[in-house]
């Protein structure tokens, strides 16, 4: 089952600028295996800390929905795919290396 965590709206207009762009993220996991469990914890933490109020995160279990594995060309798991902002980036692993996650998401240089 996929779990959609919507961004909390607060009525205010979104400020312009690259750092404030909305992030659309998809995390592909495999059930409750250790790597996947860690990835879920880590992504939630990172999103709340660095992308508060400007992200959409979808978590998809490829055991439950295997067709996504094919359509998204998943090989390594867990994998976080950043759809927006462009370019599309894939981050493979349980996201425990926060530095590379942030680098990959272009949140730090």
């Amino acid at each position: 089952m996929s779990q959609k965590i919507p961004k909390k709206t607060n009525g205010k207009a979104k400020p312009q600028g690259k750092e404030e762009e909305n992030y659309i993220l998809r995390l592909f996991i495999t059930g409750i295996l250790p790597n996947s469990a860690r990835a879920i914890i880590n992504i939630n933490a990172i999103c709340e800390m660095y992308l508060k109020d400007r992200y959409e995160l979808e978590i998809i279990d490829i055991y439950q929905q295997p067709s996504f594995a094919i359509s998204e060309k998943i090989i390594a798991v867990p994998v976080l795919i950043k759809r927006f902002p462009l370019p599309e980036i894939r981050l493979i692993g349980d996201l425990s290396d926060i530095g590379s996650v942030l680098k990959g998401l272009h949140l730090i240089n």
Binding site: N42, A69, I75, A76, V77, L80, D94, D97, G104
Partner: protein, 512 residues
């Protein structure tokens, strides 16, 4: 004829999956280990993808086993186009739900590593694929693509897991890889992971390409440690075991006419023995091809198929040349009685020519095979190789009771050694020599039967004349005997040379 070893009792515990690949099931006594993964190694262009694809397609068409082909390098359209020349209709098999192909692409530019991961995504995809068509055969071609973007240590442990997983899935799998990242000798991964390891080699020596297949490992089964040469042609792969051809040769006392009445006269009035080997040697342009085609003509006219292997002149040239002496080959080709094998000698080495010829023999089942000239094939390779190859080839033909005629061009005159003879003259049953001679101030040719095992042959030297009426062998009259003596002398010298070339021990007599 290749003898297939009977399976011993222990071997029967390991069921096998027939590949349908010519020759391969023979050398493995039944194909690949069933429900186990086989690693197929080889560098680029060695034929891995073709072999893997043939395994899958044959599984569908011959064994009713659906298959999955996970392509890591080519996409499925490229793959379909590439194998179309082999006659494989992948789209049809996909439509009938017997084949599932998926391209597994690795876009390494996009990958960032952020922690631990595994290859479960791949496992899920393969599992889905297998379930979709209820596959019994799976190919992963090739694993190297993954090494570019992913951590090698993770990959290696995941591959081990993959192989175990495939076993549980009850599929016979082929996993291809290049020698390199995935399977280096140092890592020795294949040793405890796969039950069977095969290596394909595509060597180029002296600008000649040789393909070889080697079974490095086949757990639980005896396998030859030899390298087996193989070909890839429009029908796919053919492997040929270099086994000793069974020497169970039947001897026939039937005779077959040479197609030249006067030559038959010189051969005890009967001609050649069926299943024997015949050599016509002579310097360039002495009419050897004419004799060979006259033989072919007669064979085909008696409703016996004939295979003419041309290594110097193209078939069209031979046909045109023979027309001028009244030998018409076209109707025989039309009727299918006469077939040509034509190959430039330097394209492949001698061994592979023999393999191709054997293939044609299996298809056409000729009673007579002609090789014109054999000497063109012998410019490459050490002499002992050539000799043993020829011997094996002749043995094979004898077993099949096929009569074979070779022509051989000998160089220069009588005193020079003729390395291209390669001692064939001592090996064959019948040997005739054609020479340019001067008779009464006129240049003409002579033919002499040097030897003919098992029959009373004439020792005459006859004048060999080719005209638009055909071939004639005219006895040389007495008044020309002075020249004849010189001719006889040179023939004797040739005899002695041939004996020296052909023997490794003390001199044998020229006549066997």
């Amino acid at each position: 004829m290749v003898k297939v070893k009977k399976l011993k009792k222990t071997e029967s515990q390991f069921p096998k999956s027939l590949t349908g690949i010519q020759g391969f099931d023979d050398i493995t006594n039944g194909g690949l280990p069933k429900y186990r993964p086989t690693i197929l190694l080889g560098n680029a262009g060695s034929g891995k993808t073709i072999m893997a694809m043939e395994f899958i397609v044959n599984g569908i068409t011959m064994n009713n086993e659906p298959g999955v082909f996970m392509a890591f390098e080519e996409n499925t359209d490229e793959l379909t186009t590439n194998v179309r020349s082999l006659g494989y209709q992948l789209n049809k098999h996909v439509a009938e739900n017997n084949l599932y192909m998926e391209h597994v692409g690795m876009d390494q530019n996009e990958n960032f590593e952020t922690g631990k991961y595994d290859l479960e995504g791949l496992f899920v995809r393969i599992g889905q694929a297998i379930d979709k068509v209820k596959a019994k055969r799976v190919v992963l071609d090739s694993l190297d693509a993954l090494f570019a973007g992913l951590d090698h240590q993770t990959l290696r442990s995941e591959f081990k897991r993959l192989f175990a997983w495939l076993k549980k899935k009850k599929v016979t799998a082929i996993i291809t890889a290049e020698m390199g990242d995935a399977f280096t000798a140092r890592q020795g991964m294949e040793e405890y992971v796969a039950d069977c390891v095969i290596v394909l080699d595509n060597r180029v020596t002296n600008q000649i390409t040789t393909r070889r297949l080697r079974i490095v490992k086949y757990r639980g089964s005896f396998h030859g440690n030899n390298e087996y040469p193989f070909l890839i042609d429009k029908k796919g792969i053919t492997v040929f075991p270099i086994a000793v051809e069974a020497l169970q040769q039947k001897i026939s006392s039937q005779k077959i006419s040479s197609g030249i009445k006067q030559l038959d006269e010189m051969l005890d009035n009967k001609g050649f023995y069926v299943g024997s080997s015949i050599l016509i040697s002579g310097t360039a342009g002495t009419g050897k091809t004419s004799i060979a085609t006259a033989f072919a003509l007669n064979v085909c006219k008696s409703k016996e198929p004939c295979l003419f292997c041309a290594f110097e002149e193209a078939p069209n040239q031979v046909i045109r040349n023979m027309r001028s002496i009244g030998i018409h080959l076209e109707p025989l080709i039309k009727s299918g009685m006469l077939s040509f094998y034509y190959a430039r000698p330097t394209l492949q080495n001698l061994e592979l020519h023999f393999i191709s010829i054997k293939k044609m023999i299996k298809e056409r089942k000729p009673g007579v095979v002609i090789l014109d000239p054999i000497t063109n094939l012998m410019t490459e390779g050490p002499n002992s190789d050539i000799r043993s190859m020829l011997t094996r080839f002749v043995d094979y033909l004898k077993t099949e009771q096929i009569t074979v005629m070779f022509t051989a061009a000998i160089t220069v005159g009588s005193i020079e050694r003729n390395p291209s003879d390669e001692g064939i003259s001592s090996m064959v049953d019948t040997w005739m020599m054609v020479q340019d001679i001067e008779l009464d101030g006129e240049r003409t040719r002579s033919l002499c039967v040097m030897k003919a095992r098992g029959m009373n042959h004439s020792t005459e030297v006859r004048k060999f004349v080719i005209s638009n009426k055909g071939i004639a062998l005219i006895p040389i009259a007495g008044r020309e005997s002075k020249n004849l003596a010189a001719v006889r002398r040179s023939i004797k010298e040739h005899e002695n040379l041939a004996t020296t070339n052909g023997s490794h021990g003390p001199k044998e007599s020229a006549r066997d």
